[in-house]
Symmetry: C2
Subunit: 299 residues, 2 copies
């Protein structure tokens, strides 16, 4: 039985608890909050231990970092340096991910612990699918089409615009990796909608995409956490062109992210020290059953 | 540069050569045929060395076994025991796969070589997808729907029926993992179609499925090597039901199988001795590029 601690208790943290409780090989070692007194307000069940530092919890194998991406690097190193494995769903691509990997790899190797980074649906499962597409047809193009669903990054960016009281940015897939942004805002009193809408459309997050801004009375009435992706590749295997691959999912976003993080925690307990993305971990090590059972069921 | 030998030169062997020649990190070390004099008839290009035994070839890293599944176990052990990695697309599921894995694992560990087994599209890539589906939503049902495309096993079974001169069995997906078998046969002179058709329908390969048998003049005029699969899972992540996943591909069958085998040969050169299915190999190790490049492009 691996003992898993949940760090942070927002949407993802709550869903992580559900996934831990459904896993036959894991139990929750407690929740770490910056401010312990907020446990009730955050909805932590009374039967869980709440700590402000992980040393207050008994025998922790892995910490699931359910915190904003910007907090991940420092948080991860804190746990790794105590010999506790970490899993995050860090969602910055490119250089930021490469840097995180190098930092956590050094920490993991120094302290005998394992970090699994970018363990969500994108980066994460979608990265694995892009990899499978590519070794199956090395020459070709993959398009990742997100949505329809709420974009957290774009919603935060819209909220930061002056005159916006509350916002929701929904990503609509247009195909070939292009997206429309549907932005629903509540206007602060005294602001002009046309000016605020123009400010959103010229913001770096939105300037490159087709963006529509709409004023609504109540943004929360529009929110749901469903999301989706449609990935397509057309490419060549050897000399043969026109090999066609599609991956599609329609999912509850926090529930899926949490479930993937829990699978990654299982895998973390099985790797040698260092830092891994989901491309570096065998699929079997993310699954509960033993080798022969998996071979009989999945192969 | 890894040097790869092709064992057998049928549909798959030919496609493997194309995939090796397109790979930046591999070259073909030659072709092994049971009877060297048949090279021309089998279509081996004149610039390749043809051998009857691998010891005639210079410095071979891995052997791609493009032979029938029943020949795989003995052939693999022959190469593994000489320290040459092997890759096959062995296509028997269940106990046969578990047994093969145990035998080749022992051989690989004894001689310092690596076997990758079941490295085709099913078993193979589809097995990986089933694994990803399952750790993303551990409670639920996955359906694998094959086709439309030719089934080699069912075609061979139909050809074995008395009175059948030539046959083609096409698999049609009906959804929820059920399939229709469309069997096209040329009749031997002197046989009664009704009796032959009944014999096919009661054969173990066909008895459980909806099977239609049709008499045609020329089976070869109907053949093509296109195939496909549609895999769907509906399941739960944590407490959240109705998570929906679909994987679909429309592919040239030998070209895809060959490409996957070549990727598996790359991975074989990177694993420690023993036997692996595609569930036991990190996706990154099947791809050519280095870690940072892959992280930037795929994560």
């Amino acid at each position: 039985m691996k003992r898993i601690t949940i760090v942070g208790y927002g949407n993802i943290g709550r869903a992580v608890l559900d996934a831990i409780e459904a896993a036959p090989d894991m139990e929750c070692a407690g929740v770490v909050l910056r401010d312990r007194t907020k446990w009730k307000e955050k909805g932590v069940p009374a039967y869980l231990t709440v700590a402000e530092d992980v040393h207050e919890l008994h025998k922790v194998d892995a910490a699931l970092l359910c915190v904003p991406s910007r907090s991940v690097p420092d948080d991860a190193i804190k746990y790794l340096s105590r010999g506790i494995h970490t899993v995050d769903s860090y969602d910055l691509h490119g250089d930021a991910m490469v840097d995180l990997r190098q930092r956590l790899d050094a920490a993991g190797k120094a302290y005998g612990s394992v970090a699994v980074i970018g363990a969500g649906w994108d980066p994460g499962v979608n990265s694995m699918i892009r990899g499978i597409f590519e070794f199956s047809a090395p020459r070709g193009i993959t398009y990742t089409n997100y949505g329809p669903g709420m974009s957290m990054g774009h919603t935060v960016a819209a909220k930061a615009i002056k005159g916006v009281r509350n916002a929701l940015s929904v990503t609509i897939p247009l195909g070939t990796g292009l997206h429309r942004r549907m932005v629903y805002i509540e206007l602060e009193t005294g602001y002009d909608f046309t000016i605020v809408a123009a400010a959103i459309k010229t913001d770096g997050y939105f300037a490159k995409d087709e963006t529509h801004v709409m004023q609504v009375e109540d943004v929360t009435a529009l929110q749901d956490v469903g999301h989706g992706v449609n990935m397509v590749r057309k490419g060549a295997s050897g000399r043969i062109d026109n090999q066609q691959f599609t991956f599609d999912m329609r999912i509850n976003n926090p529930a899926l992210t949490a479930q993937i993080m829990v699978a990654a925690a299982r895998a973390a307990c099985r790797q040698s020290p260092g830092c891994y993305t989901l491309l570096d971990i065998p699929i079997a090590s993310l699954l509960y059953d033993d080798e022969s059972t998996l071979t009989r069921r999945l192969i």
